[in-house]
Point group: C2
Chain length 220, copies 2
Amino acid sequence: MNKKIALIGGTGPEGKGLAKRLAITGNQIFIGSRKQERGKEIAEELTNELNEYPQICIKGGDNREMAELSEIIIIVVPYSAHKNTLMQIENELEGKIVIDAVVPMEFQKGPRSIEVEAGSATEEAAQILENSTVIGAFHNLSAEILMDLKKDVIGDVLITGNNKEAKQEVSSLAEEIGSIRAVDAGPLRNSKHVENLTVLLIGINGRYKAHSSIIITDIN
Amino acid sequence: MNKKIALIGGTGPEGKGLAKRLAITGNQIFIGSRKQERGKEIAEELTNELNEYPQICIKGGDNREMAELSEIIIIVVPYSAHKNTLMQIENELEGKIVIDAVVPMEFQKGPRSIEVEAGSATEEAAQILENSTVIGAFHNLSAEILMDLKKDVIGDVLITGNNKEAKQEVSSLAEEIGSIRAVDAGPLRNSKHVENLTVLLIGINGRYKAHSSIIITDIN
């Protein structure tokens, strides 16, 4: 596509990985950070890394600024910063598609899910962002594999949401990346199950020394 | 293997499917039901269906009786009967491996998970069955595909539990079936995520007209 896409909290591995993958397919990328300088720094780093792709365009700045410049916003902050970040940039997200990729989890003798009052991070986002269309996606992909462009990205991206057109748009976006297949995982209320699947996968990664993801069988 | 395996609540599709698959690989199967007659009836039905396998041995009766005769017990009751059934047969399960395959869910405009105080059905079983070794497994397989012996069973069985040897034994048992691969999904506290994955899969089955299961990528 040729979309303007912000990655809010995009300076971590997940954000950087998605930024690279979505930049090389022709989208304009905006790396948001709490600190403007940090956003710029990572945008420059990624631009240098991708110097063999002359068409790529990655800018960086603070979260609010980057959200404002974009049409589609992907939230990849740690869960601890989820609520506050969304409240800070609520206005800049109005009328836009917001993709929540945040997994409420912590490490305490291994990965564990964190209970969210709204049910899931994605539903929490939908509660805060009354004037945006919130979709859950990109929870179950390995950041390491996203970042390593020599590797194909194999796996299904489970999409949750209550708006059909927005789900369709997010599905198309997801399928630009590697060999990803988008799968409709139902309404927003299913988001917690998709988020928690990542807790399982991270545990499996530890036990199997893997960068796992999932594939749903028997659908095409 | 050549194990004595009871299916508690084994008269439904999941129980019948597992019974058929585990019978043809050489295990002795005991179909348990609330009603002795119903257990016997299903055992007879399955025996007739499998008449091309002369070695199979499937018996039926009430849950308690079947549990007593078996070394490994698989719980496949509906969640509404989970607690009561386990309390009724607690003594018969002592010192044995109990595999919980129950998914706490209901249909209310589509599939939804049911909150379980213990965290998951499997942890609830572990609380009730203090003197058994409770393992979570077999949640994410399609009953329809299990029942149809003309079809291969493709997918990963996610195994949760706190006892290594028991997990290993359940893994071996699972891998007797079709092309199943057993995957260590971590300690008992992860069970709810495995159980809830079924809520996603059942939704996907409806949307995609499929009998879906999952495969974890990047592990072997």
